[in-house]
């Protein structure tokens, strides 16, 4: 037990030292040079936020558009580089910036005092206002902050609006990370109102007959009033360059032009049906989900095989390492593992989100597959080993010719189940912006202003995949039992 604690403490210490070391060492400010050398300006955004950033287009040609994107394009143009957009959950933006996944955040972000503690901000490029969104039928009842006293109000996690909502007397908050989920909650009477950024609220209300929005008259700090671009501390050269572009935008009053363009995109309601317009998203997402799961199971199989051998060997240290790995991975949520690999390990190696996601899923499934293999081997009667050994077979020979072939019979179905589990669990990699099924669903919900329909479709897709696989497995399991 003591050894365990020592080892664990040592590990924690090592990790802490490594991390603080890399985080506190600041190189000289080569930020501007770096971006120009790479030829790319990578911005992070959360594209469920019209008119600032959202998906629009026809059928397959959906892309992220909006005022923020136009601003980012202008900045990229001024720097003479290409604009690259990474879409992720709003919550993940700050960690992504701090771990160098992106160069800046352009996501209608308000430079609150709290955020200023961790990142630097450009000048404010858009003076905004804060709205309250209610159901159209309730607009007579709820018309002010006070009228919402004691009610349940929705806010997006980690946003300025989350703080502002506290100004409603005795308010109960429902915090969700996705605006579309909030609107769905409002439409289905789960909450009475949403505190939303003004232009975003107006955009949604204009696209819906059932929503109504009005300005909230919250008490605000002067600096909380606008949107700005977040950039890492120590990258003042980049901030200066951005501010230059922003000044030009302000001078020429380009924001109004940008907003108008964004509005046109939103008004582009084609006659196409939902299915024909968005099916390619579901297809892409499904293929990506299957791809991640398949790689996860295959790599996990190799890893699990090695781990199970480690756990069966006589060498105490090797066995300890194997057991510790399996117990640790099985004892922590996949969500944390995904974020750790992407953001944590990403400090040392710049892993693309998909790679990080696949690595996390594989490492995770390796631990479970190890236990499947071990369980399969243990399920073979000990008399089989005894018979093999008494015939003079070596350990390796009895494992190979006698134990393993029999264990496989138990391992195959369990592996199939693990594959099905991974198909469902891999949805977690959507938090770091991997375009699997859940992520694509989010895009469809954002682009279509449909709250529930995409969820139903996605649910059906998952069910069809897992149900078919289960049936297939049962079929093969039945056939294997013949002998």
């Amino acid at each position: 037990m003591k050894k365990w604690i020592q080892a664990f403490t040592a590990l924690c210490l090592m990790l802490t030292v490594l991390f603080t070391a890399t985080l506190t060492v600041h190189a000289e400010d080569d930020s501007l040079q770096r971006v120009q050398d790479s030829g790319q300006l990578v911005i992070g955004t959360s594209a469920d936020f019209p008119p600032f950033e959202f998906y629009a287009g026809e059928g397959d040609d959906q892309e992220i558009v909006g005022m923020d994107i136009l601003i980012a394009e202008k900045i990229a143009d001024d720097l003479g580089v290409e604009l690259v957009i990474q879409d992720m959950e709003f919550d993940s933006l700050l960690p992504a910036l701090e771990t160098n996944k992106i160069d800046m955040i352009v996501a209608g972000m308000t430079p609150t005092a709290e955020r200023r503690e961790s990142v630097n901000f450009s000048d404010i490029y858009f003076q905004t206002f804060q709205n309250i969104m209610v159901r159209d039928g309730d607009k007579e009842i709820y018309d002010s902050i006070e009228s919402l006293a004691g009610q349940t109000v929705g806010v997006q996690t980690g946003t300025l609006q989350e703080e502002l909502a506290q100004q409603i007397p005795d308010v109960e908050l429902m915090q969700l990370s996705n605006i579309n989920d909030l609107i769905l909650a409002l439409e289905t009477n789960r909450i009475e109102a949403i505190v939303m950024q003004g232009p975003n609220a107006v955009a949604h209300a204009e696209n819906s007959d059932t929503l109504y929005t009005f300005e909230g008259e919250f008490e605000l700090d002067e600096q909380d009033q606008g949107s700005a671009i977040a950039i890492r501390y120590g990258e003042d050269a980049l901030v200066a360059a951005v501010n230059e572009s922003l000044a030009e935008i302000a001078e020429q009053n380009l924001t109004e032009e940008y907003l108008a363009t964004a509005g046109e995109y939103m008004a582009q309601d084609s006659d196409e049906g939902f299915a024909s317009k968005y099916w390619s998203y579901f297809l892409d997402g499904t293929l990506m989900t299957l791809f991640i799961s398949l790689i996860g199971v295959l790599v996990g199989l190799v890893l699990g095989f090695i781990l199970s051998l480690m756990r069966l060997t006589k060498n105490v240290i090797v066995r300890f390492i194997g057991s510790a790995y399996v117990e640790f991975v099985r004892g922590t949520p996949l969500l944390i593992q995904v974020m750790f690999i992407y953001f944590g390990v990403g400090i040392f190696f710049n892993l693309p989100a998909l790679t990080a996601g696949i690595i996390a899923v594989s490492l995770n499934s390796g631990a479970y597959i190890c236990e499947i293999i071990r369980g399969g081997l243990n399920s073979v009667d000990s008399g089989q080993t005894e018979a093999a050994r008494s015939l003079g077979m070596s350990k390796r020979q009895s494992m190979r010719y006698v134990i393993f072939p029999q264990a496989l019979k138990n391992i195959w179905p369990a592996l199939g189940n693990e594959f099905i589990t991974i198909i469902k669990e891999s949805s977690i990699v959507s938090v770091i912006g991997v375009g699997e099924l859940i992520f694509q669903t989010r895009i469809v919900r954002s682009a279509s202003f449909e709250g529930i329909l995409p969820l139903i479709i996605t649910m059906l897709i998952y069910f069809i995949i897992t149900f078919t696989l289960t049936k297939l497995l049962n079929y093969y399991e039945g056939r294997m039992n013949h002998d």
């Binding site: 089989q384 093999a388 008494s390 003079g392 077979m393 020979q397 006698v402 029999q406």
Partner: protein, 241 residues
């Protein structure tokens, strides 16, 4: 052929074999009897080191098995056939494959040669028509006969039988004992743990009576069955005969 010197075996705090000294000679059929829990099976399993002795020495054909390297032990085990109570046939292989897998893999016998020998051995135990049968399709008595043939396929110098008929339905005991009988007549050295007193009387050259981790008494079948000297032997025989 097998010398057992001061053999002791404990499972945790439970001392199963306390001090066993025994000599098994070439061509001898030794039957071990005794109440359950007396250590008979453990004694037998120590002979080919399926159980590792806690203390003492096992010498087989001049080589001490205890403290032997894994590889050398495997080679010696090839000369000690073992038959189990639960048969322990390999369920994923046909009867013939059960017989050939070890000769081919451990002794480098060609598959063709091994197949021929397997056919002949299965005929010998009366199962010439079951070459391609999987164990699941065989009766208990048939399984045990395949198991005996499997052990014989390695050309062993000695055969160890661990209660070979205890898991069988009564009507199948005879067919297995017959095979063992034939084997004994052919001059095979055998150590048999069994409750079949009829077999012991008829086939054994020597009977060991074990109780509480010791060999309490030994002698010819006549000596043990007609005229047991030890009170515990008398007590045991009174209960089962």
């Amino acid at each position: 052929m097998i010398s057992v010197k001061h053999l002791k075996k404990s499972f945790g705090k439970n001392e199963v074999l306390k001090d066993i000294n025994e000599e098994i000679n070439q061509g001898e059929v030794v039957v071990v009897i005794g109440p359950s829990g007396s250590g008979k099976s453990t004694f037998l399993r120590c002979l080919n080191l399926l159980e590792e002795p806690s203390d003492g020495e096992i010498v087989f054909e001049g080589t001490s098995l205890t403290g032997l390297k894994e590889q050398d032990l495997n080679q010696l085990r090839q000369k000690m056939g073992m038959v189990f109570q639960q048969f322990n046939l390999f369920p994923h292989m046909t009867a013939q494959k059960n017989l050939t897998i070890s000769p081919v893999q451990t002794k480098g016998v060609s598959q063709q040669q091994a197949d021929q020998k397997a056919t002949q051995l299965l005929q010998q135990v009366g199962l010439g028509d079951k070459l391609d049968a999987y164990p699941a399709s065989l009766s208990g008595g048939q399984k045990q006969r395949v198991a005996i043939a499997r052990a014989l396929a390695m050309d062993p110098d000695v055969m160890l039988f661990d209660e070979p008929t205890s898991a069988l339905d009564p009507e199948m005991v005879g067919e297995v004992l017959n095979v063992m009988n034939e084997l004994a007549k052919s001059g095979m050295t055998m150590v048999v743990v069994t409750h079949e007193m009829g077999f012991a009387k008829e086939v054994a050259d020597r009977i060991l009576f074990m109780d509480d981790g010791y060999i309490v008494e030994q002698g010819t079948p006549e000596e043990i069955f007609e005229n047991p000297r030890n009170a515990r032997t008398q007590n045991f025989l009174a209960k089962i005969l």
